[in-house]
Point group: C2
Chain length 461, copies 2
């Protein structure tokens, strides 16, 4: 083929350009089989999967059944576990079995964990004994562990082979393996003693010995280790695949780069969701119902509202001050807004620095000292603006109150925002739970105390 | 080796466990050469790079010069461009040249873009003509493009070879290539006509022909395409490397998986920073100075403060209402807090959904309709809590005002928060710029209008 012709549907085809056409959903919903078939034929598997994920279960099922056999598998592999489940429940038994048998064991295990017991049972029953055994083993690892994500189908090499025989070995045993690029070298007890990259096999002379090519101090992880940490380790070391061993150092699988990317992306999505005060979830935004979207936000929103009752109490407590200087009310939103923003900046920076490993729990006091100075510096800068705003709206005296409050609030907010994620981690709570809105709400109440106290002192009331 | 012995420094060694020991920084700062050498010998390159990144330029330079030659290169490759530059400026010419010549052309180009002109000149002058040519070509691509990140050292295969000869071809030409796992197949004019995976070469019979193995409709991108979109395409299709072509479909390089992960991580970090209202930057948190940290937050914080002047105007406008019912002031922080949170949730969800491609610009009206209903639903739920809080602190009438305000504010905030990122994208602004604090500040001012208007109507003032 010439790359000119089909560029638009593949690489040149970055998501934007696809939007111009009619969407699969529209075609299917109009019950036109012909156009649907044509659309399916003219789009790449990952594009089709993307469209299916946006559709409701019934339309997606109709479109999927119209795919021819080979493409159906390609598309199916690109789908998220939730969507795979939906598709499966709509299929006849024979096709159901075929699809499930062809999946990689790690993808299958991940889908099964989220599937209702009835579907899971049916899936396992339809598998060949070999595939069933591997899937069952993976199902034993806890969520979020390396074992949960690894592939158990690995080509392991013995130590004393020449390269030409090792390549022959890979050719014989590698057909089912998810990757043949990282070849763990094991002893007779299947204990990991090193790693050979396929690159080294291919580039070496055929008579070279595996023992001479082996990386003898391989980076590896245990199946029970955290998948996110393992994935970030791969990112830090630029490794394609990471050998996984059990508690007795026996090779049990490989964590592949595509699963690592997925782990990192899921962790980042989760951190982002937490930072905004919503519960993380894995569904597709456009496929979710309104009630479902609301449910994921409801808990935090309610908690934050209840916590905000503190601000009512504080204002109530200072109602005398507020009565004597009614103008103070004008600046409440501005001041707690500034404090909230300064706190959210510090919190987000520190949560991220913790996640990528730039900051460690032992840095607690260094972080407090840094953020306190950063906050005071920013507060001093804002105070100049605040002085002007306060002066213009009411008068110089209120301007001074607003200015001083800004310095103190920003110093305090940045310190709290930077410190809380570290404290959370120390207490073994996910630092991302210390979300920006949580810091903001806390800073709101304390900020009001700072404001009214400053006002009482400066205005002498 | 037995994996037991050194597990702690490598894989088993996920970042946490490293903290227990003394840090490299402490050892170097005490001027103990012996312990420094010992520490360097006992840690893996990526661990050493991690520690160097946390240190100031001088200490890092001292530690780096103590590394032996081979390990120095390994460590150097793990460093970020900024840190590489710092290290380089402290080295004598001979070692400087060696290190730079050994780097991958794409990494070198990335470092050079950020280096001061003096360093860049020195680097280019010291290179062999071949390396200089490749680096110069990469320097021609704009920041954020695929060309900026790709590796130009690719093994391209002609179409009509048997597998055994293709493997021989790779063995001869592959030594300098960054990867040999994705082998683009080109015609006589170096135009991309397909891709062969090394996996297929290794698993096929030696007499099979390349023409039969080739994936004839390869996914590819252009060198001028957005690197983030290309990286997300790789993530979506689970491709290890993506062929890159120029405007005439000629092969110019490969985007490798490790660069793709880096692109995605950088984009995510940037989105997170923007969501918190700070300017994204690439430095290391612990290595940054206080002034530097403050600088990255100052602009947004000031802008948001100036925008918050709106809230002062609105409150000032309604000061008559506030005088007649002073109790209204008590609930200002709570109400604008709830609106801000609901808006931030919607904004963050939609920015993320846009980034990963779940939502498209053409979904604008669907998103408005969804978020509006989600917001009203959440608002109704919060209204019950607000009714109780308002009733307890002041009385039933204020409770009703607070309740009604919550319903309207949440519906409005979620709609605005969900819509603004899409509008930004439509106007070709990065949606992540529509940060949570920006939505919050906007909702603060409009929320006050909603509050005071509701109060006037319900209380009849």
């Amino acid at each position: 083929m010439s790359t000119n012709g089909t560029a638009v549907d593949h690489g040149g085809a970055l998501p934007e350009t696809r939007v111009s056409g009619v969407s699969l959903r529209d075609i299917v919903d109009c019950h036109h089989v012909g156009p649907t078939l044509e659309w399916l034929e003219n789009h790449a598997p990952h594009v089709i999967a993307d469209e299916l994920a946006r559709m409701d279960a019934i339309s997606a099922g109709i479109a999927f059944r119209l795919l021819d056999k080979d493409r159906a598998l390609d598309v199916f592999e690109e789908l998220e576990p939730v969507d795979q489940q939906q598709i499966l429940t709509g299929l006849r038994d024979e096709r159901f079995r075929e699809l499930v048998e062809e999946m990689d064991p790690d993808d299958r295990a991940r889908m099964l964990r989220e599937a209702p017991a009835k579907v899971a049972k049916k899936v396992l029953a339809g598998l060949s004994p070999r595939e069933r055994r591997m899937t069952a083993a993976l199902l034993g690892y806890p969520e979020g562990s390396v074992g949960y994500y690894m592939t158990p189908e690995v080509v392991a090499l013995p130590r004393n082979l020449p390269v030409v025989q090792a390549l022959q070995w890979v050719r014989t045993k590698g057909a089912n393996a998810e990757t043949v690029y990282t070849l763990p070298v094991v002893d007779a007890g299947r204990r990991l003693i090193g790693v050979v990259e396929m690159r080294d096999l291919v580039l070496s002379s055929p008579d070279a010995m595996i023992a001479d090519l082996v990386e003898a101090e391989p980076v590896f992880v245990r199946a029970t280790d955290s998948a996110e940490k393992a994935a970030r380790l791969m990112q830090g070391t630029n490794l394609l695949n990471l050998p996984v061993v059990d508690s007795e150092d026996r090779l049990v699988g490989l964590l592949t780069f595509d699963d690592a990317i997925e782990v990192i992306e899921a962790a980042d999505s989760e951190d982002v969701a937490r930072q905004a005060g919503t519960t993380p979830w894995e569904g597709h935004y456009m496929a979710a119902g309104v009630f479902q979207l609301a449910r994921y936000r409801a808990m935090w929103l309610t908690l934050l509202l209840v916590a905000a009752t503190l601000t009512v109490s504080v204002t109530d407590f200072f109602s005398g001050t507020l009565e004597q200087a009614a103008h103070l009310a004008l600046f409440i939103p501005l001041l707690i807004g500034a404090g909230g923003n300064a706190g959210a900046q510090a919190a987000t920076t520190c949560v991220r620095a913790l996640a990528v490993g730039e900051v460690r729990v032992s840095d607690l006091f260094k972080v407090i000292w840094r953020e306190c100075r950063v906050g005071l510096l920013l507060g001093t800068m804002l105070a100049i603006v605040g002085l002007v705003i306060g002066g213009l709206f009411v008068g110089a005296e209120i301007g001074v109150v607003v200015g001083i409050t800004l310095v103190i609030i920003c110093g305090w907010a940045a310190t709290i925002g930077g410190t809380m994620p570290l404290l959370a981690k120390k207490l073994r709570i996910d630092p991302a739970v210390i979300s920006a809105p949580m810091v903001t709400t806390l800073v709101d109440a304390t900020g009001l105390i700072i404001y009214f106290t400053t006002a009482k002192i400066v205005l002498g009331i």
